[in-house]
């Protein structure tokens, strides 16, 4: 009953982590996940407060208030720079 959370680019390097699992019962929205992750320690707190992060659920870009459910794949990443 978890939500898979993945990180990319600068964010992944800053956290030195590419993926975590979050218990689905503890979060309702993307914003909740961000708050929960920021509480992990001071470093994560800093990273999550300083960056203008984008988020996606199951490969679709979504806003912070979007709800999440068990089995979802949530992603956080900095603004994209392809092309």
């Amino acid at each position: 009953m978890t939500i898979k959370v993945v990180f990319f680019a600068t964010l992944r390097e800053q956290l030195d982590c590419s993926e975590v699992q979050v218990p689905a019962s503890e979060v309702n929205t993307i914003a909740d996940i961000k708050i929960k992750l920021a509480r992990k320690n001071e470093h994560w707190q800093q990273v999550f407060s300083h960056s203008a992060l984008l988020s996606a659920i199951n490969h679709d870009m979504v806003q912070s208030e979007h709800t999440v459910k068990t089995g979802d794949e949530v992603a956080f990443f900095p603004p994209v720079t392809g092309g």
């Binding site: 993945v6 990319f8 680019a9 600068t10 390097e13 996606a56 490969h59 679709d60 870009m61 992603a75 990443f77 900095p78 603004p79 994209v80 720079t81 392809g82 092309g83």
Partner: protein
């Protein structure tokens, strides 16, 4: 490929423009116009000399995001086939990074759709560039001008 086929490819290897355009036009004698955009690695960015580029992406979301952008272009303009290729991994100066090709019976539609796809790819498709510069490795910052450019299509 039928006349409205879409090709989306995320790949480490290079591509050949003539081959890609031939594929877009193969058995497609209806569409007389083909517009392409090719992006290449530049040697300078924001005043720094660049010696190479590393491209990361979010596999799965990239393809879905590009498919959505192409579907929007198909709704807005009368276009035939579309091909989007984006390279990932390590690239050198002058290397081709991205290809967008659009066929149409009408050149205006091909031009508009190709530009639209590039503009949205820039702000929605999950790719990230890390430049190797004289001052070391550096993740690129997104440009505000790219957001403005994409928003112009809503006017």
């Amino acid at each position: 490929m039928n006349n409205t086929s879409v090709k989306i490819s995320i790949q480490t290897q290079d591509f050949n423009l003539q081959d890609e355009v031939d594929l877009l036009e193969q058995d497609n004698a209806v569409d007389g116009a083909v517009v392409t955009f090719t992006g290449r690695v530049r040697n300078k960015n924001e005043g720094l000399t660049v010696s190479g580029l590393y491209l990361e992406h979010y596999s799965g979301m990239t393809e879905k995001s590009l498919a959505k952008i192409i579907a929007q272009a198909q709704q807005r303009w009368q276009i035939g086939r579309v091909s989007v290729i984006h390279r990932i991994g390590q690239l050198a100066i002058g290397d081709q990074i991205v290809f967008v090709g659009v066929t149409s019976m009408h050149r205006q539609d091909a031009f508009a759709a190709a530009e639209f796809i590039m503009d949205y790819l820039k702000v929605q498709a999950p790719f990230w560039k890390k430049e190797l510069t004289e001052q070391g490795e550096k993740w690129l910052d997104a440009k505000q001008s790219d957001n403005k450019q994409a928003q112009q299509w809503n006017n």
